[in-house]
């Protein structure tokens, strides 16, 4: 029983449903109109509300993870909303590192009100410059010279007195104290002349003994005085140091007076200035030795003393600025946390507090920091370091090696800086869900998820809003004006991008790409505005750039390398439709699905699965169709069938269940031996009750089969069977719409397996009557009868095998 024209007509998708055209636009935005950034994100209310909420709640853990597809301008919106909030908050404090005079390895962190950091740094620099002149000048003063002279004279007098008294003591015994270049010699004298051995021998024995005894006594005294000399020198140095400190102290006090007055409202700075004062006094000598750098091999350059008072301003803000909003595009460890740089000196790496550098966390401290999830997670140590900072609410600048204890060399351990920052991580959904699932600390630190929608409902209002968004993007990229028809064409394309005639894609990047490329083609033809042809040229150009793989497949089909029939009929063979997704481009193409059947034990073999080329969902689809087959056609007999299904010439993986209707039809054709029309391709998934369900990529699939048929010549027999539930997704190319309009191509929307069978076989499949029987000479009747025969044969075979076993 063939299918009637009425039946076919009832399943044919009307032309107007193949592509939902954009209606004329009521009002376009004038060039003067401006659109707030947040408003330019259509239907992202959920994400906008989440972001605003997170930015308003100043509590721990209210950091945000912005979920959404790449290119949806999540950064722009997050930055705009963070900026909105930042403008209400005001600038956070400036931060600087200064020398820790008591423990230079632990530099001190100082905070100043916003805008005062630069001034403080300059003040300290000026102070050092003044001190370098003022302190030496103080030591050139007449008063100091007089005091120094008096001190030196006093010390010399003490030394001289020591020697004079010794000389006097010695002279009393007739002994002279002679000075050699390196020491002293005690020698007996007579008439101011040293006695030699001959004269000594001529002396009376008593005198000789006296002289020797006197020299021995004086030797002890001489030794004692020599030993006392260092103490005298030390005493002199001590008094000299005290004098120098007194002079320095006075000078430094005068120098610091103004500074202390200027920073009297900042106790931390005052305490630091006190330390500076003490240290300058202790290092008075360095200020006096201003002869320039020392010898190159000296470990420490004398001028380095002055560097110890420099201020390393690591974070500074304008006083009237708003809270910072920082986007760190390269969130490596050092870029995020900060680092301590080193410089090479005499073959060694050295550092000091002036080489501490702030990372993005400190730059954004008191404000908002935007990071890319993928980059944060793929840069070594960054994710753990970020969480550590958020937990500790402070930033400790140290290298990862130090954090992990891998280095034992002495380095700086800067004082941690308190952290108060709102982190906004932008990433794809799967990253959010993985983190949420596997990182137990994640949900506590990122309590807010701002989820970006991929598309927006294509309501009348939204279409108008979308047109305004397009105009806004046109202006922001300084493009040529777009005609109404061009904008309408773009709106239609955005529905196509969403894969749904009732929705519009919110993927801003691809929208921008289309606008820019259309603008290019308009400029190429030296037009003053972009028209619909330019949009079409942009779309076609983009397709040409990406469709090499598609073209190769089409060529292979046309050259019969890939076997696809588009005419005639064949038992157990159907044209399925497959989609290949290349990331930024996807296309459909037909695949030949074949099925074979024989008597068996009730199993339907999915060859793709057997060779591990089929994915789990595909296997699920085959199992469902197997179940649908047995429940529909052999409810009362054992399914005594062995069937096998395969995607012919498919050498890559196959997944998804969108071919399950086609697979079941091929199987039923094989069982019933009713041929399937090769001019029709089929897509759709099926459930156990025979209901045809929606699938993805329906537009690409139809276009893929249409292209093959078009190249071979459309004769009106060609068409595609698709799920009825996918009709709303249709946004087909105008070329196909025209072909359908001209009745050279057909698209059928089916709800049930029988409808698909009817189109594919051209036969009425038949419905069970009141007695539960399918009408004779129908596809379904043939299938049922064949399955009953299979069951009988199997029983006979089993009985025959049993009697053989008994006889044996």
């Amino acid at each position: 029983m063939t299918v009637t024209t009425d039946q076919i007509r009832s399943l044919t998708v009307p032309v107007e449903s193949l592509r939902r055209a954009c209606p004329p636009l009521a009002a376009r935005a004038s060039p003067a109109d401006t659109l707030p950034t947040a408003a330019s994100f259509l239907s992202q209310e959920r994400a906008i509300e989440a972001l605003r909420f997170a930015f308003q709640v100043d509590r721990d853990g209210y950091n945000v993870f912005v979920l959404g597809p790449v290119g949806s301008h999540r950064h722009v919106l997050a930055q705009e909303l963070a900026g909105e909030r930042a403008r209400q908050r005001g600038a956070p404090p400036d931060w600087c590192y200064v020398n820790n005079f008591t423990n230079p390895e632990k530099p001190q962190a100082l905070q100043l009100p916003a805008g005062r950091g630069t001034g403080f740094r300059d003040d300290m620099q000026k102070l050092v410059e003044e001190a370098r002149f003022a302190i030496p000048a103080a030591f050139e003063e007449e008063d100091y010279r007089n005091q120094l002279k008096a001190l030196e004279q006093e010390s010399q007098q003490e030394v001289k007195a020591q020697w004079e008294s010794l000389k006097k003591l010695a002279a009393a015994d007739g002994i002279a104290v002679l000075q050699t270049p390196s020491g002293y010699v005690l020698a007996p004298v007579r008439d101011d002349k040293v006695i030699d051995d001959e004269e000594f021998d001529q002396l009376p024995g008593k005198e000789r003994k006296r002289i020797q005894a006197a020299i021995k006594k004086l030797s002890d005294e001489l030794q004692s005085r020599i030993e006392h000399m260092p103490a005298l020198r030390k005493k002199h140095h001590e008094r000299l140091r005290e004098l120098n400190q007194e002079v320095t102290a006075h000078t430094v006090k005068v120098l610091l007076e103004d500074l202390k007055g200027k920073y009297k409202d900042l106790p931390e700075i005052l305490a630091y200035l006190d330390n500076v004062q003490r240290n300058m006094i202790e290092n008075a000598k360095a200020f006096r030795d201003t002869d320039g750098p020392g010898l190159p091999f000296l470990a420490q350059d004398p001028s380095s003393v002055f560097e110890a008072y420099e201020v390393n301003l690591i974070v500074s803000h304008e006083a009237e600025a708003s809270a910072p909003v920082v986007y760190e595009a390269n969130p490596g460890y050092t870029n995020l946390i900060g680092k301590v740089e080193h410089r090479a000196e005499m073959g060694a790496l050295v550092t000091d507090y002036r080489m501490i550098r702030a990372g993005a966390l400190l730059q954004a401290n008191g404000g908002y920091l935007l990071l890319d999830a993928h980059r944060v997670l793929t840069r070594p140590f960054v994710w753990e370091a970020l969480k550590q900072c958020l937990f500790a609410k402070r930033v400790q600048i140290e290298s990862p090696a130090e954090t992990l204890g891998f280095v034992s060399t002495t380095s700086l351990k800067p004082e941690p800086v308190p952290l108060d920052v709102k982190i906004v991580i932008v990433g794809e959904r799967w990253l959010y869900y993985l983190l949420s699932l596997y990182d137990k600390e994640f949900n506590g630190l990122f309590k807010i998820a701002a989820d970006f929608d991929d598309d927006v409902e294509r309501s009348e209002d939204n279409v108008e809003a979308y047109a305004r968004l397009i105009d806004h993007r046109i202006r922001s990229h300084t493009l040529l004006p777009f005609s109404d028809s061009a904008v309408q064409r773009i709106v239609e394309e955005r529905a196509r991008h969403a894969g749904d005639s009732e929705r519009l894609s919110t993927h801003i990047q691809s929208l921008d790409d289309l606008l820019v490329q259309a603008d290019h083609w308009a400029r190429q033809r030296q037009a003053g505005r972009v028209d619909v042809d330019d949009v079409t040229a942009a779309l076609e150009g983009s397709e040409r750039r990406y469709n090499r793989v598609q073209q190769r497949i089409v060529d292979a089909i046309q050259r019969d390398t890939l076997l696809i029939d588009t005419s005639g009929s064949c038992v157990g063979q159907v044209n399925g439709l497959s989609v290949i997704d290349l990331g930024n481009y996807r296309f459909g193409h037909p695949v030949r699905i074949t099925a074979t059947t024989r008597v068996g034990t009730g199993d339907v073999v999915d060859i793709e699965r057997e060779v591990e080329l089929g994915g789990a969902i595909h296997s699920k689809g085959v199992m469902i169709l197997s179940s649908a087959l047995s429940s529909r056609y052999a409810p009362e007999v054992p399914l005594s069938l062995h069937g096998s299904i395969v995607f012919e010439q498919s050498y890559g993986g196959v997944d998804g269940d969108s071919a399950s209707v086609a697979e079941l039809c091929a199987l039923l054709s094989s069982i019933s031996e009713v041929p399937i029309r090769q001019s029709i391709a089929c897509t759709g998934s099926i459930n156990q009750l025979g209901r045809v369900q929606a699938v993805g990529g329906v537009n690409e699939k139809i276009e893929g089969f249409f292209e093959i048929c078009r190249q071979r010549g459309l004769d009106g027999s060609h068409g595609v069977v698709m799920p009825y539930d996918n009709v709303k997704h249709l946004m087909l190319r105008e070329e196909i719409v025209d072909a359908v309009q001209a009745k050279r191509f057909s698209i059928y929307a089916v709800r049930h397996l029988d409808e698909a069978l009817a189109i594919l076989t051209g036969e009425e499949p038949g419905q069970r009557d009141a007695q539960g029987q399918f009408p004779p000479d129908t596809v379904n009747r043939n299938v049922e009868e064949r399955l009953i025969r299979y069951a009988a044969k199997r029983r006979e075979f089993a009985e025959s095998a049993g009697s053989h076993e008994k006889a044996e």
Partner: protein, 154 residues
Amino acid sequence: MKKRNEGRRIILAVTETSSLPALWRAAKEHLEHPHDEVMTFLLLDDRWRRAASLPFTREFSRISGSHKNFTPWRAAQIDEAAAASLARQLQALAAETQRQIAFEVLSEHNAADILGQLSVTADVLIVSSELKRRPVYAKLIELRCQLLFVDSEE
């Protein structure tokens, strides 16, 4: 007697502890012509030799107070070091002033005779004031040339 056009002859008499710059400053005031002659004599008494001849003399280190025997070798070393040091200073001075400066070491006991003979042709004899305390002083003041004592003790 020397003729007026032969140039002046200045004699410096110094000890090992004299400050040569002070004596040279005094000498410069008497130098008039590039051909003026400068002769320097280091007058060494033999106190180091004499002290070293005694078996019990020790030299005490100025730094530590430690001591060791004061030997004749050490005595000679001190005299040689003093002469060498003065020679170096004079060499530098000669190079600086582009003058010939003669240098001799004299023992104090024959210094008076030699200086006495030289003083006949000398214009000025500049003597380190330390020598006032030495026996040679008595003979120096009897010389007929212009005698100038300069306080040059360090």
